[in-house]
Subunit: 220 residues, 2 copies
Amino acid sequence: MHAISSVPAAKTTAFFNQAGVSRCMGSHGAPMLYARNTEIYGDGEEAEFIYQVVTGAVRTYKILNDGRRQIVGFYLPGDVFGLEFGEEHESSAEAVSNSTITVVKRSFFVSLADRDLEVARQLWSMTKSGLRRAQKHALLLAQTAQERVAAVLLEMFERSGKLSSFELPMSRQDIADYLGLTIETVSRTVTALEAKGAISLQSARRIAVTNHQALRRLDS
Amino acid sequence: MHAISSVPAAKTTAFFNQAGVSRCMGSHGAPMLYARNTEIYGDGEEAEFIYQVVTGAVRTYKILNDGRRQIVGFYLPGDVFGLEFGEEHESSAEAVSNSTITVVKRSFFVSLADRDLEVARQLWSMTKSGLRRAQKHALLLAQTAQERVAAVLLEMFERSGKLSSFELPMSRQDIADYLGLTIETVSRTVTALEAKGAISLQSARRIAVTNHQALRRLDS
DNA sequence: CGACTTGTTGACACTGCTCAAGATACGTGG
DNA sequence: CCACGTATCTTGAGCAGTGTCAACAAGTCG
């Protein structure tokens, strides 16, 4: 159902940037391969697993009544997602690009947390990260198109380790649905940022930040 | 510093809609009075307390670089706020109207959580509520002005116990800053909703929902 | 009653959306 | 390896929704 294919158990060189539970996920979880655009879980399904991106990228989203897709968040290597409030997922998740993802039983951690305070603290901490992320997202959506796009590019730039150039895993449509804009506005805005000299496009997806300060000023 | 005046210890008939810690706050916390528009805590201050609204209403907000105020959330009787991620508040809080608020030491619960799993679960649960709230807010901000305003009115209507008419504690400016709109757009939109027959204005702040379905359709 | 705060309305500007066309990149089969 | 078909991205023109600026109305408090 999930279009999952298992991956050779060989290397598990996860890019862990969180301690404790995340590390634990490496040892207890199964690394799985998800092809580009395949579903990882669906809105309303039982929240059976917790996930951590090892390589690739993931988007979570909701379909609104009017049919529009609103992307709730993007998850990059090291990020944990699918840790829901209750027993059901409140959004759907898909692989943005071909991804390796560590999957562990949610019930494993939840019951472990009943005995181990450290685990309980870790679960709480991951929810706190999610809250911080969601509040930042809400602030973003109250800004202008330029500020929103600049913020996404800056975020990706920083997550890339501030490389001289980096690859956007997501499409213009993904960015648009994350920022509450149209694909045309995102495209035009990226072009405008290049015209301003803030960035330089090597291809539509490959971007170099040429003026960090200019981008920063637009972001907030 | 906080412009707090203590309140007669007489009645503590808090409107508790959460179990456990919330209830605990009633017994361990000091009920305080905050006058309209006074600060409860400031962005960047040490997160020394956790708060629960007993009567009145509270707003939390951030001042953005460009000077605009973005309201992060409104809190009504029963709601808990100020439970931050780290050791510092990441927003400011003010009383929207004269309010009674139960205040307890954050460290009290945090250290209690080290010994009591139930308390740990409760703290986690409160953060989960905050996350759900923040995600809903983000979804709202990606909608049209009518949908945003309708959603706020609907929310207040439901929180009021679906009374035939209810009082908005917050100003148009507060609503505008919560929804990422201008005060004029909020005002015009409310007028438009009345023209559509969805609501009826007894005064600017006193509203009756005359067509629940119409409002629901606009919301999402 | 008068001053001040809050809310409403109007005219116009501007940002971002819609619809449409074209360009570029990408995957697939020959 | 090339040629084609398809998905993705860019650009343009016109329009709709929201913001800006300004005037006025209503409500509130002394």
